[in-house]
Amino acid sequence: MARSQFCQLDESGRLRHFLTTEGLSRETLTDILDTAESFAAVGKRAIKKVPLLRGKTIVNLFFEPSTRTLTTFELAAKRLSADVMNINLRRSATVKGESLLDTLHTLEAMHCDMFVIRHASSGAAHFIARNVAPHISVMNGGDGRHAHPSQALIDVFTIRRHKPDFTKLRVAIVGDIAHSRVARSQISTLRTLGVKEVRVVAPRTLLPPVPEALGAKVYFSLEEGLRDVDVVMMLRLQQERIQGPLLPSLHEYQACYGLTQKRLALAKADAIVMHPGPLNRGVEIDSEVADGPQSVILQQVSHGIAIRMAVMSMILGRRDSAEVSN
């Protein structure tokens, strides 16, 4: 397996690209969280900028529509004083003659330093990292169903602020695990950080073919899965799942897997509730819970910028120090 794992670290073990949380050490993950902690304060200042990446150019290359993620990546880059360019390329734009690689090489020629990629195909960020010019770093902003590493770090950052000792935690991830890049990255991050127990809760049709291989404990019943957990991470249910043979109806999904206040009472009394957004209120989560005292959903959103600032500065800052030492 190691044979073909693409390396996102440089020879000295520092981040060169940020493609997946898999394979990153506890030290690296903690380093990102600590750096993000220092950036979190920047957003509260009157002047919300630090000059760390002045003169750097970051391109947000989004092949999938997104507003929230794109916005936080953009703000993160701007607060680091980098120049930012947002390029929205829906699939159709690349279909007409120009291949993905042609698009990349065109942008490369403009002397960018980092591509933030969001793409509908699993493995797209790896593919691009393998094929870009060596002076460009790639940050994965979500590739297909594979990985969404910055979102996972936002989530553990949020957890850490409430429950700093990971080794004591039981975490339940609830919903469409099979199609979720967020879930995959969350599970690997939580495991590397030493969480006591990671659970996944879903009907069999929304789990991958060998769910145990993810390294999480599988629950089909939400009631059982929630019992005594410290953290509940809800996933968004895509409406398209009910058009195929995966689920009978939104109503039945809500009845079995929707997080209600009553069900939440099965978790620990101080359990926190998370959701990467956007919410389907009344489907996977009731408004009462989403807006309730245990919800930390809005904090997740605000932590997005700090995490992305941390990763960007660690990758691009690394290169600067390497250049200086040369």
Binding site: R3, S99, L100, S121, S122, G123, R145, R181, R184, A213
Partner: protein
């Protein structure tokens, strides 16, 4: 023109020959073994001492891309690559553009192959018109044009009634039906084996049942219709077991496996390596073991290349958007030989899967080197190790995960109808 192949280890599975001997060829045919025929005047001598001499290899599953996809490969380019790999007969599926559902396309392929003169090309006709799985192709006409069997290529016939009737109709003319077993609904829009790796990578998985459900259906239809069936390239242990049981019941069904399935598993996809994107998909280590055992036990009679050359761009996309297939002619023999070197198979037994067995499946008088046989000959060194280099590949497509890998076993000479079409020059 007399040719003497001197001092090689002649392995001719069909005639149960495995001995060091001389082979005399005249007028495109084998004329004598061991002792020179009377009045023989040898005009050319090939020193085969230390080498294996066997019938030219027969590959039952190779796509040459012509007509229709000449940007990927041509009959000329690929038959030259075949000659360099000891392959003298290539059997091509009908999924060209246009599809092989008319005599004209069969004739075109034959003519191009003759013009190239590097390998024989046998053609599988379409089972259904345009491979759409709706109306039967003119199989009798295709047979008259020279097709050795019929197939629906990589497009499974979803409608069971159409499949049943197509098999019945093919049986009328004693045509063998080549089957790619894949349940269309279980495989749609998916690119790798459904298992722990697909789950980790977030790639849509093709479950083993995509193959076994289709094998089960087709085995029952084969039994009902009595037509001869050949599973082109099985990928799972369970399918091998199902075929073994059917054969025990007396069903005249045969099976093939592609050489790469005997070496690669889903693990090889774990870094999103698009060169390992194949159909049927690479499955588990257990399946690899089962497929190798299937070849050893004789349930799988033929090892094929499943050759699918591509232009570079076809693989230069994120994994799920790439085209499937490996350029595989030039690795067929060394990959298969691994079963002899490591797998405990006898050399003759192994070579049968590349010569006499496939010849029998498509009922051609080849794959043997008795007196009077057509002199298609492969002469190889079974032990020499070499590295597969992109620049040295003759196929127009260099899409293979074996680039840079050390292979064991190298073809030194290939003869087609007594003519030398390849000699290895280091």
């Amino acid at each position: 023109m007399r040719t003497l192949i001197r001092g090689g280890r002649l392995v001719d599975p069909a005639n149960r020959v495995d001995e060091i001997t001389d082979l005399y060829i005249d007028d495109g045919r084998v004329v004598a073994l061991g002792m020179a025929p009377d009045g023989a005047r040898v005009e050319r001598e090939i020193d085969a001492s230390g080498l294996v001499v066997c019938p030219g290899l027969i590959d039952l599953n190779a796509r040459l891309r012509e007509p229709g996809a000449e940007h990927k490969a041509t009959i000329a380019s690929e038959s030259r690559a075949a000659a360099s790999a000891g392959i003298t007969t290539l059997c091509v599926p009908p999924d060209t553009e246009p599809v092989v559902d008319t005599q004209a396309v069969v004739e075109l392929i034959h003519r191009r192959a003759e013009d190239a003169g590097m390998a024989r090309v046998e053609v599988l006709g379409a089972l259904t018109v345009d491979l759409k799985g709706k109306r039967l192709a003119e199989m009798a006409a295709l047979q008259r044009a020279g097709c050795v069997g019929v197939s629906n290529g990589l497009r499974p016939v979803a409608n069971t009634e159409v499949m049943r009737r197509a098999m019945e109709y093919a049986s009328t003319f004693d045509l063998v039906v080549f089957l790619h077993c894949e349940d269309p609904w279980l495989a749609v829009d998916r690119q790798m084996h459904a298992g722990s790796i697909s789950g980790r990578l977030g790639i849509g998985g093709i479950p083993e049942t995509a193959e076994t459900v289709a094998v089960a259906r087709d085995l029952l239809l084969l039994e009902q219709t009595g037509v001869q069936g050949h599973f082109c390239h099985l990928s799972s242990t369970r399918a091998v077991t199902m075929v073994a049981k059917a054969r025990t019941r007396g069903l005249a069904v045969t099976a093939g496996v592609s050489a790469h399935q005997l070496h690669l598993t889903e693990d090889d996809v774990s870094g999103f390596d698009s060169q390992c994107h194949v159909r049927p998909p690479l499955r588990t280590a257990g399946d690899l073991k089962g497929l190798r055992a299937g070849v050893q036990s004789g349930v799988i009679q033929a090892i094929c290349s499943a050759h699918q050359p591509h232009e570079k761009d076809a693989k230069l996309e994120p994994f799920t958007l790439t085209e499937s297939g490996i350029s595989a002619l030039e690795t067929l023999l060394p990959l298969a030989l691994d079963l002899y070197h490591q797998g405990g198979m006898g050399l003759s037994e192994l070579l049968a899967t590349l010569t006499s067995n496939p010849a029998k499946i498509i009922a051609v008088e080849r794959g043997a080197l008795g007196i009077g046989a057509v002199a298609d000959v492969c002469i190889f060194d079974p032990d020499v190790r070499w590295v597969l280099e992109e620049d040295a590949m003759l196929s127009q497509g260099s899409n293979t995960p074996f680039l840079g890998k050390t292979l064991r076993g190298r073809v030194m000479h290939t003869l087609l109808g007594g003519q030398v079409v390849h000699t290895w020059e280091p």
